[in-house]
Homo-oligomer: 438 residues x 2
Amino acid sequence: MTSSSVPRTLAQALPQQIGQTVRVAGWVHRRRQLKSVAFLVLRDATGLTQVVFATPASRAQLAELPEETVVEIVGTVTANGAAPAGVEITSPQVRLLGEAAAAMPFDLFRPELSASLPVQLDHAPVALRHPQRAAGLRVSAAAVSGFRATLDAARFVEIHTPKLVGSATESGANVFGVDYFGQPAYLAQSPQFYKQLMVGVFERVYEVGPVFRAEPHDTARHLAQYTSLDAELGFIADHRDVMAVLRETLAGMVATVTERAGESLAVLGVGAGGVALPEVPTEIPALHFTEALALAGAAPDEPDLSPADERAIGAWALREHGSDFVFVTGYPMRKRPFYTHPDPARPGYSNGFDLLFRGVELVTGGQRLHRHADYLAALAARGEPLAPVASYVEAFRRGMPPHGGFAIGLERFVARLLGVANVRQVTAFPRDLHRLTP
Amino acid sequence: MTSSSVPRTLAQALPQQIGQTVRVAGWVHRRRQLKSVAFLVLRDATGLTQVVFATPASRAQLAELPEETVVEIVGTVTANGAAPAGVEITSPQVRLLGEAAAAMPFDLFRPELSASLPVQLDHAPVALRHPQRAAGLRVSAAAVSGFRATLDAARFVEIHTPKLVGSATESGANVFGVDYFGQPAYLAQSPQFYKQLMVGVFERVYEVGPVFRAEPHDTARHLAQYTSLDAELGFIADHRDVMAVLRETLAGMVATVTERAGESLAVLGVGAGGVALPEVPTEIPALHFTEALALAGAAPDEPDLSPADERAIGAWALREHGSDFVFVTGYPMRKRPFYTHPDPARPGYSNGFDLLFRGVELVTGGQRLHRHADYLAALAARGEPLAPVASYVEAFRRGMPPHGGFAIGLERFVARLLGVANVRQVTAFPRDLHRLTP
């Protein structure tokens, strides 16, 4: 039987094919030469398959199949309780699907990658094949799918907004300059202005896309490009309506990760003895900023929460409410961007919030200004010029409802979810101060 | 009864609320003063609602509610066969949710926008509120959803790849330069290299994201930023496996547009007397490039198909096969990028294809090289240097299966589907030679 006459069978389907001749294909994950028999472990997108080389001729062939070589194998599916998934392939006929692979920079077949993170990142196309690295990216894909599914079900419309903009969207100098047909332009630091304008069109919108920060610091949680999960909704009473949608969204993301990436979680040891996936409570506890300062024992005139304060608040939420999550609302206006809506009852404080997850900030959001006059006043009060944001502010003269939204950094969300220390471990090809390739 | 004590009812839900007091909210779409009564048409994300102002006092109030002002209205749902959806709101109490809107640059309440496309684009945040412009973007969102759903069901994994790269990914000079922490960098013209490398990780991947072309031409089908729907899959026999996945994907996109954006299609007159949504045949007809030239009456040594050739081939597909779609395979190697896989039987021709839709190119795809030695030979034969693509080519030394893929330009796809002349009509905030705002 020629290989091309048999359709390919995936590793996960082999237990249903015992006794059949099948064609499998994938990467040589590992070879093991024993005294009287040799094994090849084949890796495909669905798992590992043990292939038995029993004859001297076939055992000799294994020497020409270094790890990561891509092969197809026609053989017989044979039950073996000691093999992965209870089956193995016997009487294999092997065909190369490309060339024999060159020597690897590190072993992929060990349970953990022994290479340092910088070495992994230098060799990302290879390192990402390791089941643990691949699992992190599968969790990421499931999380995004859950974000979209939750918001689709709640009447949100997906949008795609410009990444090339005429002026910086967030304050601060961390912006990349682009030569735009001879004009100065910038890479968008967020879709903030555009998602607000699109509330005027669809009431509720979301975007999943890259954002760019010329971040001069080399930290475990900053990237020069990351994937931002942005949502914005109109006809709200205040920020609490935004918090309710964020709660639903997080619950949907965690549920979809559980449903669609269960095997990946198992590979990563999440939920089984290691870090547990969080439960998103029906009502996430919330503290006003002033209460949060008092609870953390900080001075009442502090303008922001320190990392130690956030940990104290996270510990409080777990202790008092059994919750991994806690909202802090009412951050001082002076620490929030100009488009932030103040608390009508206490104008020095905002209708902005942070969501802390296990004592660390995970999401920022809030209610935005929606009156044109308020934008002019806010810019004037801060001494910020109108010109760079004129076309954005102008749109608020044409009728905008009360609205607000939030943004989740995908890589940071996944890293926190999986208990991973560095966002680069859950990013395929990270960009930072030192890294523009691969 | 205060407005805040009644939850908001959307326009589409009003027919189920006859006799009830409801709270509706949205934009003042249109006002009409008749002799004895006045009407306000309210627009929300789900439709239009007629509100009746019968008393002199309420009629006077209408003068202070210019079009596009955001209001909430508490009133009674009353059956009226002459009103949209058979109901209207009577005895309204109106409350502003922001400020009275400033004068509009053009009327939004007319069936068609009378403003020219450049004027619409200058005022995009307003123009996009017109039901026809909004409908185009809803179709776009549904098309992307169908793309993802089809590929998710076929084991593809969603990826997010760098938009900041160290070298151009496609040949040609149409690349935007970025100052990357003092180093020269570029905006990615496609995720081509990254999606190929990720085939080594997941076998099958897709990405929906922005791509950037410093397109110096001002045409109806080019943008400086567009949304690319990219897919790539491994373990293929040749390009025909890619074409089969593309067919499934297009069918899924058209089906999802029909399911999720049916009202938007109706607003645009698609499928009802106007342009019809295409049927994607189970087997899309395919012609080899040499057959296509002959069929179009072009000289057999032409290196590419002219627009007139493409129209002739489209007409042939419709006439002979009743198909709006036709594949042309085997484009000459010299017109395809260096990573293109040649036809083993006719090495001057490629395993690359174009998909024509109603006589115009819609999608490009094909099989890629997968052997490291072939990459080196292809670059050498073209006289192209290895250095700019070294980290990409290096990955092919580590075992890559035969693979291929395709890319669909979202804006172009939606424009063709809806019979719209200019891609800018189905792009929220287009970027081109002349346009960096809004």
